[in-house]
Symmetry: D2
Subunit: 398 residues, 4 copies
Amino acid sequence: MATKTVNVALIGSKFMGRVHSNAYLKVGKFFDLPVMPVMDTVTARDGKDLNAFAQRWGWQSWTTDWKMVVDNPNIDLVDIGTPNHVHAEQAIASLELGKHVACEKPLAGTLDDARQMLAAARRAKGCRTFVWYNYRRCPAVALAHQLASEGRLGRIYHVRACYLQDWGGPATPLLWRFKGSQAGSGAHGDLNAHIIDMARFITGDEVTEVVGSIAQTFIKQRDLIDQPATGASRSKKKNASLRKGRSTVDDAVLFLARFRGGAAASFEATRLATGEKNHNRIEIHGDKGALRFNFDRMNELDWFDLTDPPRLQGWRTIDVTRGQHGHPYADAWWPDAHYLGYEHGFINMAGDMFKMIGGRKPLVPMPDFQDAYITQRVLHAAIESANNRCPIKLSQVK
Amino acid sequence: MATKTVNVALIGSKFMGRVHSNAYLKVGKFFDLPVMPVMDTVTARDGKDLNAFAQRWGWQSWTTDWKMVVDNPNIDLVDIGTPNHVHAEQAIASLELGKHVACEKPLAGTLDDARQMLAAARRAKGCRTFVWYNYRRCPAVALAHQLASEGRLGRIYHVRACYLQDWGGPATPLLWRFKGSQAGSGAHGDLNAHIIDMARFITGDEVTEVVGSIAQTFIKQRDLIDQPATGASRSKKKNASLRKGRSTVDDAVLFLARFRGGAAASFEATRLATGEKNHNRIEIHGDKGALRFNFDRMNELDWFDLTDPPRLQGWRTIDVTRGQHGHPYADAWWPDAHYLGYEHGFINMAGDMFKMIGGRKPLVPMPDFQDAYITQRVLHAAIESANNRCPIKLSQVK
Amino acid sequence: MATKTVNVALIGSKFMGRVHSNAYLKVGKFFDLPVMPVMDTVTARDGKDLNAFAQRWGWQSWTTDWKMVVDNPNIDLVDIGTPNHVHAEQAIASLELGKHVACEKPLAGTLDDARQMLAAARRAKGCRTFVWYNYRRCPAVALAHQLASEGRLGRIYHVRACYLQDWGGPATPLLWRFKGSQAGSGAHGDLNAHIIDMARFITGDEVTEVVGSIAQTFIKQRDLIDQPATGASRSKKKNASLRKGRSTVDDAVLFLARFRGGAAASFEATRLATGEKNHNRIEIHGDKGALRFNFDRMNELDWFDLTDPPRLQGWRTIDVTRGQHGHPYADAWWPDAHYLGYEHGFINMAGDMFKMIGGRKPLVPMPDFQDAYITQRVLHAAIESANNRCPIKLSQVK
Amino acid sequence: MATKTVNVALIGSKFMGRVHSNAYLKVGKFFDLPVMPVMDTVTARDGKDLNAFAQRWGWQSWTTDWKMVVDNPNIDLVDIGTPNHVHAEQAIASLELGKHVACEKPLAGTLDDARQMLAAARRAKGCRTFVWYNYRRCPAVALAHQLASEGRLGRIYHVRACYLQDWGGPATPLLWRFKGSQAGSGAHGDLNAHIIDMARFITGDEVTEVVGSIAQTFIKQRDLIDQPATGASRSKKKNASLRKGRSTVDDAVLFLARFRGGAAASFEATRLATGEKNHNRIEIHGDKGALRFNFDRMNELDWFDLTDPPRLQGWRTIDVTRGQHGHPYADAWWPDAHYLGYEHGFINMAGDMFKMIGGRKPLVPMPDFQDAYITQRVLHAAIESANNRCPIKLSQVK
């Protein structure tokens, strides 16, 4: 059993705060790690429920002052689970003080921020950076990467990716995710970021041009969350509409792209795909084979092998839970077809993070700031293309 | 039983020649028609097997001279199942001689041709025109149209359509479908034509702009079909490659578009989607509901009803075979879930054609030259957008 | 093109009358046959619509006297599409007059009838017999047979078959299918007959014992169809229930069986499987591979190949439409994934029938009276087991 | 936050030991509990890795002497995750010392054992008993129970359940699961136990008769696990087969049953269903609706609502992850369609266990010894029916 420990500080106690806490709680139970995480400190702006959060999850201390945490010499790894517009400040400060940094995706709210984060990462010798592109470690996606790396797709003709959600209808109020100043973008940074990363990860190829793009805010006004709670306003609710505020992010972004190897690609992210709750889908066709993945069937990978005898060819649904036969990450978990869920991608990633900090190799490539900056450039190019109504070459986006 | 008859002449004896012949053979057996088709004459350029074809299918006569057929005053309906570049000449000649015309899709190989065909149709008072957009009468697609028309989708946010085939790999020789002069385009006119028509048909809305487009010929050189069969050449085969010719059509076209009602749409057609044989898929999301259709499950329509109680919401897979309960065209056929196939879309369309010629209404809107010209403009705009690397408004495409 | 003809007489003009007529109409268009069917005469008890039926389908004559037809020396093949209780008389008479006989399944309403039909078939040298177990020639089922015959399943452990329909709810009146005297049985003879035949056909193995069985009539009283239409009765309708009659057939039969090769099998047929319209499903597991078929996905066969490398194993969905690559019957029809429907199994079977009459071999084994008698014995054993509440060995059923 | 604690002792450190440890680790993080589990002691026969196991999972102590643990007055809850043949001794001892008991399923290896356990539970006033039928708390199964309880199925005609695995091929050695003396039975107690429980849980109805049954050991001899490792034996391996031992459990059990409400049911459990890794499937059809569940799609429940307008009826796939809309257990976890896995059923059950110990009600009915004894009787009746080759009424099984 590992004796070395890594003291972790987590910034953020909302959705990602819970997901990351769960990952630190479980990773050492399922993976044999060279270094063991210690859940040292949790920090968040809003202190109201932070004590309870810390107790519940077993964080040894908590504070609302993230800078104090970063300053703390006992902390080895700073995990950033905050809105995108503060990633840069928190990551750069942490790196400058010699911490490893794990940052939520997308790397930043703006390309400028991302560039500065990358520069800080390059300066911080000895610090590891990690970006929580968790779907890479969904076992089916990791297997897709492995199959493509083994040459089973051949020359790739097509990449077709979409990430569809439907929670952003008109009844959804003006959460921070609809504010450009905090979120940077809407569905684009939240969802396209994932599928751009997945496409790059699986194919091993890079986008060279965004050919055309639509960025659309279908619902321009949303209810404000903090409505005055006076009796007057409450009675008004019945007669008139709530006070509204302006959504300053996209609800959906679609774009077409070319890859260096020649593939023609499409990407779409939306929060208004009625009926699709979390439909993260990618389809890749090459001249030797093809792959399909869909998070609704997250424990399965569809593979079409064009080298099978034609009469017997068919989409093969691989149940990617068979650790004894080499399915990625599966040996850490349960027997065949005793399925994994959403959270396991994060735990698998935490496993690789601590392996890397301990000097070992990750099972599949880990996105660091360098890598995530490339995805950020594609995100940026897509918005430029939408705004300027023209193709954008990635070589123009620095 | 009908006593009036409609004498049909068919031009073309290849794939569509067979499909249309089958439709004429069967339509009167399954539909109660006000006028009955008579399979009068089949004509095709290549006379070699035409006699056998005519005998097999029960055409009363055959000839290699399509003009003679068009001239024949006994012919009431000319059915054009030829390559796209000859549609215009054949259709215009037929219309000028007062025939009804049923023309294969897309309407023409070029927008110019299509415009002239439309003009001829407008001049030919009393002549009906039909365009074989057969998928409209695939019962699931017809039901999708009905549900949308009833307002079950509400305001439409997204249309996502692709038509994926994989027969166009490097081993496929230089068929006429790869020659721009005959086919007009490749996957675009062949496949995007269908999904543009389906999107328009189901939503009842029109494309106003193509925002960006990729048209790609992945495989630029293909084997010539008619290789010199000399001993020399045959021995060369073993040592060297076959003689090659240039493919002058796209293998794939992807484009993004906006609809008048605000929907953001994507379309993709390809012949290189390894593993997908004939995957014609459309997904439409509105603020009241959503629809999914996929020709691989051609007897099913997926519907998501956002007005269901949230706890019980789910994608509902409707088996569209229940004629007694109002599923389109199903009452003409077999009992529940005794499934229909590809050919039935054509027979259903033939049923509506002869109803219309007999003065009745079709079950769902029929694409005529006017309607198909609109689809042709979208096809044209997509190619213009790809070539000029800029958005194209449909109002600019006449 | 064939010059020899086979004059066909069809008995029955209801559901199967339509299906068989359609098969005769189309078979010569899609298959190259050594002998060509001529649609000579149709006969049915109820003459009211028979003239119209004959005209519509192109039968050259019609009569309500089936015996006259059988006597007619011009008739070569008698096709029996009548309720089960008259199969024996019609088939035996036809065979004694030297006709080929095609009989709807199950072979007969009782085992006695079936035994006499088999004896007649044995006496009638030179007469072919065919039984319309149409699912054998659904291409996916034919491919399943081929794969099993090639040894791709190995030793078979399990057969799991069910045929589920839901049209038999309490609102369905007392049709002939609910009368034991005409139908012989309910779901059992109608649906279990098919899956017993399919199991035998695919595995090439035979049932040796029915181990246990449930035969159940859930709905014992059903509305009579021909209610007296007097004013009195009509007003009664509003106040009281309709006149009822007794259903004398099973609504559902489930049974367990053993095969000679050791497989443990289950069969279930029902008309009360709410939500399942025509769900004909079979799953077979062997020590080298497994197969799954389901008529709701009738153009697909699922195959699991245990000889694949374990890491890459998965259920392979074979789209069985690729004639050029050897998929059964597919070369007669349309290009890849231009799907077939319910009716095509009958046309494929007609193709094989006329090939056999012309001296050729069928593509896959054809069920004749000898073969269908074996299925009838299994049907009988299942009912015996249900009635006597004990296992029944097939060796006891003669 | 809860202040009362429940000291837990776990017996068993293999598969179920891990699964239960994980449940205790996580339950308090995701559920608000009136009493909090303390992971006090783990015990197992084999002490070799027990220290490491205890450290890894955070058990405060460990021992190989389970009796000492049961004697320990500090322990409040004894969790039994051992082979079936020791359940009785461990559970009875625990109950007699006033502990709550959570026992793995099936309740016992024999009906005698189960009866004594039930008697002990009845005597132990104030002690709660729980049986780990975890699938009840797979959210889709819990929702199925709720829908049926609300009357959405109506009168139930059919239950069709199978639990298919394929790990029991000839290459699998003679593990304890193949020894009747330890396991009591094979696939039957392991897998049929689950689907019997699920059928009872969802329908709220009880089996009254097993009508017929097949219990089959396909692979009678299996390799012994502990082979002498001498050089002689090793060289023998190459020439001769390994030493074999006799499997004394079933590989598969199939049976037919009747429910009190009249439903006709089939159950099948097997370890030889090639291609099916953990396929736990149940289908229930009533006169108002139907349900389908399949663990391969564990986050989905299929529901067919016969009260929908017929034209719009279809199988509705409910994504059961929407806690804010009342999906069972989902509010404890992640946002919509951020899927759960196998382990979550156990954590959900642990949540209900500690709620019940704290005086609250479980979300859905909890199986205790009384309830699990009923399932045990059905298991017993199925084996009796197989052995005696006759139907067995449950009223005869005490």
